[in-house]
C-alpha cells in the first residue's frame, strides 16, 4: 500500500516550487552556463548579429585569409535597385535626375565609384556641379563593411556577392568571425583567472576577511551572551537591544553611520585631532584602518547572531548546575570554563559554519563602505565578481567573467551547505504524515 499523493499538497507546494525554480535553480544554471562564455555588455545578452568591421578585416588578414577576398570585402560597390533609389530620394537627390537613373540604369551594378560616376554623367539631367554628383552617388553605395546582418545566412550571401570567387570555407570562417554575440570559450574565463596576478591577492584578502570577521563574531558573540547572562534583566536587555540594532538597521544607513564615524571631520577624526593623533579618513585613508573598518562594520552586525544563539543555549543550562558550582566555591571564570563553554560546543560550531558561508559570499557592507579600497587592498572575491559583472564603471560589464567567479562561490556554497545539512542533521526533521488519506 502506498499512501496517495495529496493533490492539495501538490497545489500548495507548486507556487514555492515555481519561484524557487525561477530564482534559485535557473540562476544557478545560468551562472554555470555563462561562466563558459565571453558574454559582456559588448556582446549583449540575448544574442548578436553579424557585422564585418575594419578591425575584423585586419584581424582576418593577419589570420591568413586570402588578401583578394579581404580587399573585395573592403571595397564598396554601387547598384541601382528600388531600395537604393528610395534611399537616394530620401537623401534629397533631384527627382527628375532620379527618374532618369531609374529608367536607364535600373538593376545595374558598378564595381567602383568612377564607373558609376561616368554612367551618371551620361544622363541628360545630371547635376552640373561635380560635388552634387558625388553626393548623389552616395545613397547607391553598397558596402558590406559595418552593415548589420541578422543571420549568418544573410552574412554569407553578402560575402558571396562581394567576393564571388572566395572559397566556401573562407566565407564560412569570415561569417563565423563576424558574429557580435557572446560565444563559448570553454574554460577561458577560468584560465584568465588563473593567469591574473590579482587573483591570488583577492583570494588572500577573502581568507583574511572571513577569518578575522568570523573570529570577531564568535568571540564577541560569546562574550555578549555570557556577560548578559550574568547581568540583571534590565542591563542585559539594554545591551542585547543595542547589539541587535545593527541587524535591523538598513545597510545603507548603517554605512552612513560608519562613514560619519570614520570619515574626514567625522567622530574619530575630531577626537584624534583633539588628542593630537593622526587624523585622516580612516575608512579609505590607509590599508590597516580600512581593514579594521570592514571587519568592525561586519562584525558589529554578525556578533548578534552568535549572541542570540548562545544566549538561547545558555538559558537551556539548568540553573541548578551553576548554583551547585558556586556552592562548591567555583570562581566565575571556572564556572564559565568548566560548565558553560562545554555546553556551547554545538552552537559555536553552528555559528562558525553558518557565518563562514555567509561571510564568504557577502560584499554588501564592503561595497557601501571601502568599496574594496584603497586601491584593491580590501577587495574580496564576492565583491570582485559583483564588480566584474554588474558594477563596472568603465561600462563594459563582463557577465561571463563575473559568472565564472560567482560559479566558484556557488560551488563552494553548495558543498558547504550540503555538508552542514548532514552535520547538523537538519534533514531528519521530517515526520511522516499521520493522516494517510
Amino acid at each position: 500500500m502506498r499512501t496517495r499523493t495529496s493533490l492539495l499538497g501538490l497545489g500548495f507546494v507548486s507556487p514555492a516550487l515555481a519561484l524557487l525554480f525561477a530564482f534559485f535553480l535557473m540562476p544557478v544554471v545560468l551562472t554555470t552556463v555563462f561562466a563558459f562564455t565571453n558574454m559582456s555588455t559588448a556582446t549583449g545578452i540575448t544574442g548578436g548579429s553579424h557585422v564585418i568591421t575594419g578591425n575584423l578585416l585586419r584581424d582576418l588578414g593577419n589570420a591568413g585569409i586570402d588578401n583578394d577576398v579581404i580587399t573585395a570585402l573592403g571595397e564598396a560597390s554601387f547598384s541601382v535597385t528600388s531600395e537604393t533609389l528610395a534611399a537616394a530620394a530620401d537623401a534629397g537627390v533631384e527627382p527628375r535626375f532620379l527618374g532618369e537613373i531609374e529608367a536607364r540604369l535600373m538593376g545595374q551594378n558598378f564595381e567602383d565609384a568612377r564607373s558609376f560616376e561616368s554612367a551618371l554623367k551620361s544622363l541628360p539631367s545630371r547635376p552640373t556641379r561635380i560635388r552634387e554628383l558625388k553626393l548623389a552617388t552616395e545613397p547607391f553605395e553598397r558596402s558590406i563593411l559595418n552593415t548589420r546582418y541578422a543571420s549568418r545566412a544573410d552574412m554569407e550571401a553578402a560575402i558571396t556577392s562581394m567576393a564571388p570567387d572566395a572559397p566556401a570555407e573562407t566565407i564560412s570562417t569570415i561569417a563565423e568571425a563576424s558574429y557580435t554575440g557572446w560565444r563559448w570559450i570553454d574554460g577561458g574565463n577560468f584560465q584568465t583567472l588563473l593567469d591574473r596576478p590579482e587573483t591570488i591577492r583577492i583570494v588572500l584578502n577573502t581568507v583574511f576577511y572571513v577569518a578575522a570577521t568570523l573570529a570577531f563574531n564568535v568571540f564577541v558573540g560569546l562574550f555578549l551572551a555570557i556577560t548578559t547572562f550574568y547581568l540583571p534583566k534590565t542591563g542585559a536587555g539594554f545591551f542585547s537591544v543595542l547589539w541587535l540594532l545593527p541587524r535591523i538597521t538598513p545597510v545603507v544607513l548603517y554605512a552612513v553611520m560608519w562613514k560619519w564615524f570614520t570619515w574626514d571631520n567625522g567622530f574619530l577624526y575630531v577626537i584624534a585631532e583633539q588628542l593630537g593623533l593622526p587624523a585622516f579618513n580612516y575608512m579609505k585613508g590607509s590599508v590597516p584602518t580600512a581593514w579594521a573598518t570592514i571587519i568592525l562594520v561586519n562584525g558589529f552586525v554578525g556578533a548578534s547572531f552568535g549572541m542570540i544563539l548562545f544566549s538561547g543555549a545558555l538559558r537551556a543550562i539548568p540553573i541548578q548546575q551553576l548554583w551547585a558550582s558556586e556552592v562548591d566555591g567555583a570562581s566565575r571564570w571556572q564556572q564559565i570554563r568548566q560548565i558553560i563553554l562545554p555546553q556551547l560546543r554545538w552552537p559555536i560550531l553552528f555559528v562558525t559554519s553558518y557565518q563562514t558561508l555567509s561571510l564568504l559570499s557577502s560584499y554588501e557592507q564592503i561595497w557601501l563602505t571601502t568599496n574594496g579600497g584603497p586601491g584593491s587592498t580590501t577587495t574580496v572575491w564576492a565583491l570582485e565578481a559583483f564588480n566584474t559583472a554588474l558594477n563596472n564603471y568603465t561600462g563594459n560589464l563582463e557577465y561571463g567573467m563575473g559568472a565564472a567567479m560567482a560559479l566558484i562561490l556557488v560551488a563552494v556554497g553548495l558543498v558547504l551547505s550540503i555538508l552542514y545539512l548532514r552535520m547538523f542533521r537538519f534533514d531528519e526533521l521530517v515526520n511522516k504524515p499521520r493522516i494517510e488519506f
Partner: protein, 274 residues
Amino acid sequence: MTRNFSAWPIYALLGILSAPLAVMYLFLVIDTFTNAPPGSLIPNEFTFHHWRFLWDASVTGDVWGPTATTFLFATTMVVIVLAVSSTAGYAISRLNLPFRRFFLSGIMVMHAFPSVTLIIGVFLVLQFAGLYNTLIGVILVKASLMLPFGVWIMKGFYDQVPWEIEMAGVQDGASRFTVWRRLILPQVTPGLLSLGIFAFIDGWSEFMLPRILAPSANFQVLSTYLNVVSDPNSTTYNFNLFKSVGLFYTLPILVLFAVFQNRLMNIFGGGTKG
C-alpha cells in the same frame, strides 16, 4: 540569575566594547536635531533645519514617492512570502507528497546557501524574462530569495500544531483545505505575524536588489534614495542631513522592532543575515 558575583566589571567591559555602537546610534538621533560648531562634536544649537527635506523637495528631491514605493515593495513582498510559505510549509509539514524529504532538504540547503552569489544569475534570468528594471521583477526576486527561510520557519510552526487537531477536523467532515484554512492557520498566526514582520523589515531595508536589478527604472526605494543622497563626495555633504533622511527611513523599522522585539528574537535565531 546567580548573585554570587558582582556586576560592575561586566558593565565596564560591555560598555567599552559597545561604545562605538552607542556613539553611532546616539549621534544618529542627536545630530538630526542639532548643529555643532566646526571641529566639535558637542551641539550648540537646536534646529529642525535638517528635517526640511520632508516638505522641501529641493533639498534632496521628493522623499514621499520613494517612501510609498518602499512601502509597496515591502508589503507586496510580505504578502507573497506569507502566502507561499504558509501553503508550502503546511504541505511539507503535513501532507503526503512524493520526494517530501528531498524537497525539505533542498529548502534547507537553499536556506544555508548564500543567495547573494546568485545575483549575476538572477540578473540574467530577469533579462531573459523581460523583468529587468521593473518593480515586479525585484519584488519577485526578493520574495523568492526569502522563501527557503519562510517555508522552513512556517514548517516549524506547523509542526507544533497537534496532529489531533487536524485529525479531529477531518473527522468532523472538513476537507484538508478547510482544515488548513479554518483550524490550522489560526494556530500559526503568531508564526505568520513574526515571519511577516521579519520579512517587512528585510524588504524595507533591501538595497542590493533594487540597486542592481532595477538601476535605471523610473522608481526609487528609500534605500537607493538614501544611497544617492548620502554620498559624502556629493555637493550636499552634510551628515546631519544624511542622518535625518536615514532616521526617517529607519523609523518604521525601529517602531516595529520596539513593539515586536520578542517575536523577532525567535526568528533572528534562524535568520539569514550573517
